[in-house]
């Protein structure tokens, strides 16, 4: 084989392994509150626990709510931004951050909104302005 070809192949393999290694490092797995306690950048997926109080606090400028993870474990989540649009409608939440004691401090939050009204009754939609 020509030396140039070998260099090329080595370069490609080197680049690809580095890329894949870095990619593997930068993705993580969706987890639960319990498993998140020793992780620094945990992605916890779950649903909003609407049986508990939630709201934005003007004093601490944080939005606090309770979320149930996939094990049904409900924890307080503190999110340092205003309540996102569509929060109540989301049927799945992903909070990204860390556990401190019993509270999860989210730096980021992703919301998955329901597939558009598939099970809603079209006769019930009312313009919010008319209410």
């Amino acid at each position: 084989m020509k030396p140039k070809l070998i260099i090329g192949i080595v370069a490609i393999i080197g680049f690809t392994s580095l890329l894949m290694y870095n990619f593997g490092e930068s993705i993580s797995t969706y987890t639960t509150f319990e498993a998140a306690s020793d992780m620094s950048n945990a992605h916890v997926a779950g649903t909003w626990d609407d049986s508990q109080n939630y709201g934005f606090s003007m004093e601490s400028k944080t939005f606090t709510f309770y979320m149930k993870d996939e094990n049904g474990d409900s924890r307080r989540v503190v999110y340092p931004k205003p309540k996102p649009n569509n929060f109540e409608q989301a049927d799945r939440l992903v909070v990204i951050g860390e556990m401190r004691g019993e509270t999860f401090y989210a730096n980021d939050m992703l919301m998955k909104c329901p597939s558009k009204y598939n099970d809603a009754d079209p006769s019930q939609f009312v313009n919010a302005s008319e209410s």
């Binding site: 990619f23 593997g24 400028k61 649009n85 992903v94 992703l110 558009k116 009754d121 939609f125």
Partner: protein, 830 residues
Amino acid sequence: MLSTFAIGVIGKLLITLSFLSGLGSLIFYFLSAKEEKEKQLRIGNWLFVAKGLFMIAASVLLVYLLFTNQFQFYYVFNYTSLDLHPMYIWSAFYGGQEGSFMLWILFSWLFGLSLIRWTRSPYKAPVLFFMAMTQVFLIFMLVGWQIGDLTIGASPFRTIAEEMPNAPFIQANPDFVPVDGTGLNDLLKSPWMMIHPPLLFVGFAMMTIPYCFAMAALWKRKYNEWVGPALPWTLSANVALLTAIFLGGYWAYITLSFGGFWAWDPVENASLVPWLIGTAGIHTMIIQRKSSVAQKSSILFAILAYVAIVYETFLTRSGILADSSVHSFVDLGLYNQLLAFMLVITVVGLGMFFWRYKELPSPESEAKILSREFMTFTGAILLLILGLVIILGTSSPIIGLLFNENPTPPEISFYNDWSMPIAIIMALLTVIGQYLFWKKYSWESLFKELMNPLLVASVFTVASIVLGDVRNFYYMIYLFAGWFAVIGNGFVMIRLAKRKPKLIGGAMTHVGFGVLLIGILASSAYNTPMLDQQTKDYNARVRAGEVTDEQGFKVSQEVNMLNLDLNEPKLINDKYIVTYEGYDLGEQNRPGQQTYRVLFEPVDGGKPFYLKPEVYPMLATSTEDNVQWSVDPDVRTGLMSDIYLYVAGSSYVSARNSQIERKAGTQAINPEDVPETQTIKFSKGETVTVGGFNMDFIDYAMEDTTQLPPNTNIGVRAQVRLTHIASGQQFLLEPLFALYNDEDGKTYVFSPPIQLANYDLTFRFTKVYPESGEIDLTIDGLDEEYQDEWVLIVAEQKPFISVVWTGTFLLMIGFSVSILRHWDRERKKK
């Protein structure tokens, strides 16, 4: 008037006919390409035309249904509403998956017609064959055939009853027609969103053409001539995609609250990757045309650019990305069809390529490093690598399975960490590449030539580092690369402009690339939140680890919001005095919208200006007991920096929310929250300020007692003008005070309440003091401890966003200049 059933059948029939004629044209094009027969080609063309006409008829029907509000059709119900502006009904046409496929097919068909007109033998039949093939797949997504329990394709003409047969209201009444649709997503009601999707599909449709030419070249074993006609199409596809990406970014910047023009969202990546690979293809096609090299890579890139489009279409439309993207489509049950489309395009494309690989011309001698061929080729490879890195990141739900069972998307830093070094190398190479493109150099003579650009670029870099207070060494290198690309390519461009101005397209795009890099760094790395001193001090203490929360944990999150009380100025970033001056309740654009007035007065004596961010209820998703507020940021665009600002919360919104909650009874009433009753005493002409209102007691008049119930002794009607301070809304109240006797001669006071529904207030005129002329007004619902009106805003100063746009415009103009040049040449060939 046709029945719903008949319209549905006609719509589906039109799409089926379009599909069948598409299939027919595919067969005849195949025969014609195989046996090179003119007759089959002509039949193929007729069928091709027929397919488009059926699709046009179907589109016209759908648009008609949209405009006539036929909500019994699911698509119409889902994307329009009675109050939708006609302009946005067009947006609704391609607002859903089905309609966007139709639009894509229509554009693709139009370009197909021009291929029929302009493509020459031997490519004509095979090019049209592949063009027809992609369209057949796309139409197949829309057929909506019911075969037993299986539905093939999602028809835009399905009715609500077909969409949700098990819904109780359908079971009760199969002919149910909703009164109103759910309406177009409010975020899409933007002029930018009217042009962004069509342009994207123009780009997608045009990018099919290089794929078809490359496949035709492989089929007919004519590996050189295809580049001539394919190049202007690829360039045009690129301009369309770039413009679409720009519009999408600009729309995101001015309407969404994530505060930027790019977020590495999978859907954004879906338009960027084909652009990158298409650009790689343009590079190799240019050197193939000039020097008859790189035939293999031109064909490969042309195939990959379209494969990237189909792959990203698969990712965004199959529902795979539902968890990782904020705006991916919902799965319509097209997963298998999308997968088949992707696999066929990829396997046929790459299969043909490798089948013919040995035959494909190879260069006789290897290119020298200092040659335009080598440099241009390297540029193409770098573009491809960047595209592959982004594809890898976007594919995390699939490729991430290698690492764990439930992969999350990569962190944003993954994209930044990889794209930055690649961009730096690209930027440096563009200059060397451009110099070598026009003239041969040795290392020595090249270095001599580059002395001046290097010097100038260094001066600009040092100046930017000093002026911008850049401390990060990596950023300094990046800045230098950006400036070097601007200056070096600028030199080439100026030289060319003097001699052959038609040829400056390439140099100009490379200048634009450099400008873009500088703009991206400045606007994203030096984006600063606008805060008052108190918040900044707080953040400094958070950084120092001195703040703990109520549970004793260290607070790690800084506050990047600004709280403003009505008419109380705050000094922000030592630059502006910012005052919240209230809001206007406007009904004209969006019902229930508030427009906030925030005054910025520059400390250095510049001209004061207002920013007017908005908050409005999302009509499409709000219900009576759950209003969802959406924000519309305001941006003040400047040459040096933009101020970007949106309202994160306000006293108005929180008062409205608690009002709605009270009404809906969703929240238990807290005894402390029970509205207070207050009585104010004032005399004629006096103004009292209470609970955010100014109340002017203007006058009172005796009421004609004959109009009042019998036994009334006296009736007085007061005139009180109520002004809500923050919004400036005025109300004139005329409460009545009357005394009447019952049979026993007892005197009673009659003071009927007057309601101010929007504020949940009730007014009663409860007492008259005859000796002083004062009156008592009793108000229910007013908090005793009234808090001032406030607004919470997120404001950011974003330097040099204008530079990002300038870079993008230069790229667009540069590409357009090249299109003209290559198109011109192709035309003259005839």
